[in-house]
Structure formats: C-alpha cells, structure tokens
C-alpha cells in the first residue's frame, strides 16, 4: 500500500508487472476517408442556347443497399448557380454547408455582383484539390452548372482529385459511360449548343435519366432536375421518370423471365 489514492485497488506493478498500455491505446495513426460510405450515383447535365439543364436521382446507396430514397443531390447556390453532387453524401452535406456559409458572407455586402457559376467552379475545384493534396479527399464528383460572368451558359466538373474540365455536356459516374454518348449525339460540340432549345435539352436529360434507371443498379426513378437561365433557377426535386418501357428487357438475358 502506498499513499497515492489513484493506485489503490489496482493490480500491483511488483506482482503483475507494469500495465500493458498497448491495449489501452486508442490513438493510432490519424485516418482519413479511405472510401465513400453513403453514395449518390450519376449526375447528368447539358448546356443549351439560353442556359443549362442538370439532373440527378434522389437515391443515396449504402453499398448495394438503396438506403435513402429522398436525397436531393441537386443544390441551388443562388439565382445563377446550381451544383450537382455525385459520390459521398456526408461530404456533399459538408460542401453544402460550406457553400451556405460562403453565400452568407457574400451577402454581407449588397453592392457587389453575386458569385457566378465560373467563380463557384474555381472555388470548389480549389477546395477539392486542397483536400486531395492533404490526403483527406472529399469523395465527390461535382458538376457546376449555371451562367458565367457574361451570362453565358457554363458547365464544368470538379472531382475528388481536383481534376477539372468543362464541356457542352457532362455526366459523372455511370452517366459518363451511359449518358454522355447520348448527350453528345445531340450536342457534339460547343457550336451545336446554339441549336438546342430549353425543351430539347430537358427532354434529352430526362431521356438520359431513363437510360440510367434502366441500366444502373444503384439508381432510382425519382429525381431532381434544374434549369438555369437568365430568368433564374427552376428546380424540381420530386420528379418521377415517365414513359418507361421495359420491352427491351425481354431480349436480354437476366432481365426477363428466361433463364438462359
């Protein structure tokens, strides 16, 4: 017995040996996200002559489990910018709050011009690149849609590596394989953007959402779609896929009733 209350009632070092602290240690090397957890699938977007259309379904998957079916992945920043999020949902929420605080700060002054889509893309791509450089990536692929400083349609992408690129049509995830070829059929280059009307663009993007629902197992027939023009943002978050036809499935092994 000694005079230190902290040691009373504990195994004596001289009998049992010193306590093995390695069992008690919780702090290992600091770990960052190694892989996304709850994820959203493709985001699809296309420019047209007066603006941009962007869409993403309302599903958040937990691996192969369709975990949340009411997740809005198209987020409005202001009257001329919308961001579409693919990838990790919690990182999306972090970015959403980041953009929210940015918007609050931007509106301290009413005299300055609001941030446009180009500005926001630059900002977000730097956030993404910084985080990847810290080995602590935000596991997302973003599409930033809206108008640039000259009120012309703007569409660009930023991903978890900080990679950025712009194109007349863009799609993330599965959409890059399935939707992009469909989109490029109508909008092959920057010049053809002028020939596409708003209705055509909306129809085109909706068609892509349908193909993605047919072929992407981690997708949903409920989706959000936004149209950004000079008139502002028109965001619908509870759309349902229309005019589905599963007739094609009959001829495909695994889809229909036939076994071989």
């Amino acid at each position: 017995m000694n005079h230190f209350p902290q040691t009373w009632g504990r195994p004596r070092d001289d009998v049992y040996g010193a306590y093995d602290h390695s069992h008690f240690q919780t702090a290992g090397p600091q770990q960052h996200t190694q892989s996304p957890i709850v994820t959203g699938t493709s985001v699809v977007a296309a420019k047209f002559k007066d603006g941009v259309v962007i869409a993403a379904d309302n599903l958040a998957s937990y691996g192969s489990l369709a975990r949340f079916t009411d997740v809005k992945r198209i987020r409005k920043f202001n009257d001329q910018v919308v961001v579409g999020f693919g990838g990790d949902v919690s990182d999306m929420q972090y970015l959403d709050r980041l953009l929210n605080s940015l918007d609050v700060r931007e509106n301290y002054s009413t005299t300055e011009t609001p941030l446009n889509a180009k500005n926001l893309h630059t900002y977000l791509s730097k956030v993404m690149y910084k985080r990847r450089s810290d080995f602590n990536p935000l596991w997302n692929h973003l599409l930033i849609a809206g108008l640039d400083g000259e009120s012309k349609p703007f569409l660009a992408s930023a991903d978890l590596l900080g990679t950025t690129f712009a194109a007349p049509t863009l799609a993330t995830g599965f959409g890059a394989h399935l939707a992009q070829p469909i989109l490029r059929r109508t909008v092959p280059d920057e010049a053809s953007v002028q020939n596409v009307s708003k209705d055509e663009a909306v129809r085109l993007v909706k068609e892509c959402m349908k193909v993605l629902f047919y072929r992407d197992a981690r997708s949903l027939d409920k989706y959000s779609i936004a149209v950004i023009t000079k008139e502002g943002v028109e965001l619908k978050q509870d759309e349902k896929l229309e005019n589905q036809s599963w007739a094609f499935a009959e001829g495909i092994r695994g889809y229909g009733t036939q076994v071989n």
């Binding site: 010193a18 090397p29 600091q30 990847r132 590596l161 194109a167 890059a176 394989h177």
Partner: protein, 264 residues
C-alpha cells in the same frame, strides 16, 4: 498553484498502473487507401527555331477509357497582364495529371507576374525555367505528376525551349515531345529536326558516311512537322485527339492556332 492539484506522481515515486496521459500517436504518420493521382492522357510537343518557339498540345482530356472533354488546353501563357496574360512571352505546356498541371501553371504564372511588379521588367525565360525547376523540386516528395515544357525567346531573341521531369530535372533542348504519345513522336522529331540517321547524299558508304548536320528549321517547316506528328499520333494512340492547339512565340508576341483532329 496548478502543480498542487496535478495528478502526476512525485518524481522518483511509484508509477501508476494506468498512465494518465495516453501515449502520443507517432506524429505525422498517416495511412491511406487513397491514390491522389490520375493520368489525363494527351501529348505535348515543343520545337525551337532561330527566332521562334512552337509549343503544341492536343486538347483531349481523358480518364481511363473516358473522354472527359474534347477541349481542355494543355498550353498556358505565363506572365503578361491580367487573367488573359496580355503581352506574355512565355508559354508553359503540361501533360500528365491535369489538376497538378493547373496548380503548377497558376503558381508559375503568379510568380512571373510578381517578378514584374517587383523588378519592373519581365522575367527572362532562363530565369523562369530555373524557377520552374525549383517549384517542381520543392515538391519532390509529393510531386506534381506532370511533364512540363517551357518555351519562349532568350535574351538574344533566339527560340528557347526547356523540358522537365516531374521532380524538376531540366534541360534546354531543340525539341521535345511529352505525354502519352511521346514515345511515338520523339523518334520522328529526332529524325526530322535533329536529322538523326540522316546522311549527306553521295558522301559514300560505311565510315565515309557524313551525318547530315542539324540546323534551325524555318517556321513553316516546323508547323508542318508538328501537324504531321499529331495527326500520326492520333492514329496510333487512343488518348490523343480532338484538337491541336499551337502557340508560336515570336518577337511580336504569341500566335495561337487551333486545328481539329480526329475525334475517334
């Protein structure tokens, strides 16, 4: 005061069974399953002439088998005025990991602009070239995953071309191809620019053969070489295509051209 209430045992007394302070984790060590690089494909090429330098790059941007976009420039004006780099006389081309390329471009551009503000004269290409080397070398333990080529005119007005590896090793050259199709274009350049394996006609055979001596090529010849190099690379490499961007740096400024390439 605080020492009276500290839970620590007196010096030299018996230790506690449980340490009060958890042993610190090995500092700074991190474990990761995240790979911070990707290859965005494409190729670049630079050739310097007597009074000009040409830099060229295709505009395709890829990731795996996907074409991200058909127009993503790999050529950047460095220095000059404002975001459009008006009056710039230096061009940087980067190929490899595009995000690092953009970051590198922005750093170099800022430095060159700051140089002019601080010294009241534009940075020379040789100074810029060495600075670029330092930027790359400083990040050698987490490199900018790019193959950079820097072009401009030297103090005598001659074409200057510098090429780099990702960690800053650099060299002034007559010509250099980089990126996905470098191994396809470089031998062509060796032959057509530096006249490798070319001999003076009628100089004989065996030891009598006289190597054809390389000399600076005229601009139109170089432009044609660049176009030929890329149209051929497009045929043989899937990551090259869509468009060819060229920047020709002369005494009068930077001329920029764009030629469509095959999009298949």
């Amino acid at each position: 005061m605080a020492s009276v209430f500290s839970g620590a045992p007196p010096q030299g007394g018996p230790g506690y069974s449980f340490k009060q302070i958890p042993t610190a984790a090995p500092s700074g060590e991190r474990q990761h399953g995240f790979y911070p690089y990707t290859d965005n494909g494409g190729s670049t090429l630079g050739i310097s002439g007597e009074k000009f330098t040409i830099l060229a790059g295709d505009t395709r941007h890829t990731q795996g088998y996907n074409i991200n976009t058909r127009y993503a420039p790999k050529l950047f004006k460095i220095g000059g005025e404002g975001p459009e780099n008006k009056g710039a006389r230096i061009v940087l081309s980067v190929v490899g990991f595009a995000a690092d390329g953009d970051a590198l471009k922005e750093r170099l551009d800022t430095i060159v602009k700051m140089y002019k503000y601080q010294h009241g004269k534009p940075m020379t290409v040789s100074a810029c070239a060495q600075r670029l080397s330092h930027i790359l070398y400083n990040k050698r333990f987490f490199p900018y995953y790019v193959h950079a080529i820097l072009g401009g005119l030297d103090e005598e007005g001659r074409g200057a071309l510098y090429s780099y590896d990702p960690v800053g090793s650099y060299e002034r050259e007559q010509c250099r191809a980089a990126g996905a199709a470098a191994s396809l274009i470089m031998p062509f350049l060796d032959n057509q620019v530096n006249f490798k394996n070319q001999y003076e006609a009628g100089s004989g055979t065996g030891h009598d053969l006289q190597a054809r001596v390389a000399q600076p090529l005229p601009r139109n010849v170089v432009e044609d070489l660049v176009r030929d190099a890329f149209t051929s690379a497009v045929e043989r490499h899937i990551e090259v295509g869509d468009g060819l961007q060229m920047m020709i740096i002369t005494q009068d400024g930077i001329e920029e051209t764009y030629t469509p390439l095959k999009r298949d």
